[in-house]
Amino acid sequence: MSENNIDRRKFLAAAAAGAGFVAIAPGIRLVEIAAAKPDNEPVTSKVRWGMLIDTTRCQSGCTECVSACGKENGLSEVKKPRTDAQWIRKIDLKELKTGRALSLPMMCQHCANPPCVDVCPTGASFKRADGIVLVDRHICIGCRYCMMACPYKARSFVHEPHTDQNPEVPRGQGCVEGCTLCVHRVDRGGTPACVEACAAAGHNAMLFGDLNDPGSAIAKRVREVKTTQVRADLKLDLGVRYEGI
């Protein structure tokens, strides 16, 4: 370890103590220090972005995450519910025998082995090194094979021309699209809009973070409680996990 690193550790420890944070043990911090990737560096497979959804906290009837997604990504509707793009949707489930009901958001599960990438004839559907599954619209020919391959109905085809895109989220007619985990925010050290909205609504049902970092809140949580991958039998190794289903 270089001299600089020791200084940095000392500095951080002093800063944390000064701010009243507790250092439980060396290397374990109660408050994560957000480290955004520098703009000029490519993403690496050292990071695996994931999300944990606590269905016991998710409220039936609440659609904050869906609205936030629409606003952030400019998913303007054309009043055609059958074909309007949908990156995240709320699902209500009920076990008929017991009457136990729960509500959860469903979106792209950001598989490690994504079927949409397997079937894409042009290579437009791809997985980034950090596990985010995206569509390269410059290559997408709109064949919709990925929509058929996805077990989670996570992708939409854009049927109508659009002019009111968010500058950071280009989207238009003739391509397939889906949840990007708000990649434009994540690359700058932010969190997806749905997660932020869920926290703002006071539900805190969505937790976003790096599954590969043992110290991250999400990695700790999946280590401690039983979480489920939807359709785990498909062995897709999902980035999105659910708690309480």
């Binding site: 703009d39 280009p170 989207r171």
Partner: protein
């Protein structure tokens, strides 16, 4: 043979005379509203701006490199007309030249030609 050569010569003279005549040759309206240095030299930008944009877009989308230098959004932020707020339209920075060159890039099928556009979003 001599007649053809004469005809060609006459044609060239005629064309040259008219090219020099102002107003007869349509020229693109290139309005630089914000003076200053572009990210590359003028001749490089004129010839290779699409190459630079294509290179940057692949880096951004596939590798998450979000540097501002060759980013389309930064071009738009600087070059959008202060009157219309966009790089499109008859005298728009992008469109006037592309119309002149008779090329139709499909950037604007997906990309937002107005800087700072905020969307209302969908009903859940």
């Amino acid at each position: 043979m001599r007649a053809i050569a004469l005809a060609v010569l006459w044609g060239l003279t005629f064309a040259a005379a008219h090219a020099a005549e102002p107003g007869r040759t349509p020229l693109p309206a290139i309005a630089i509203e914000k003076p200053g240095q572009c990210v590359e030299a003028k001749d490089v930008m004129r010839r290779d701006h699409m190459k630079l944009l294509k290179h940057q877009r692949d880096k951004t989308l596939h590798e998450g490199i979000r540097t501002k230098k060759h980013s389309l959004n930064e071009c738009i932020a600087c070059h959008a007309s202060q009157k219309t707020g966009t790089v499109l339209g008859k005298d728009g920075f992008c469109q006037s030249c592309h119309d002149y060159a008779a090329v139709k890039p499909d950037c604007w099928d997906c990309h937002q030609p107005k800087p700072g556009q905020k969307t209302a979003g969908a009903r859940p």
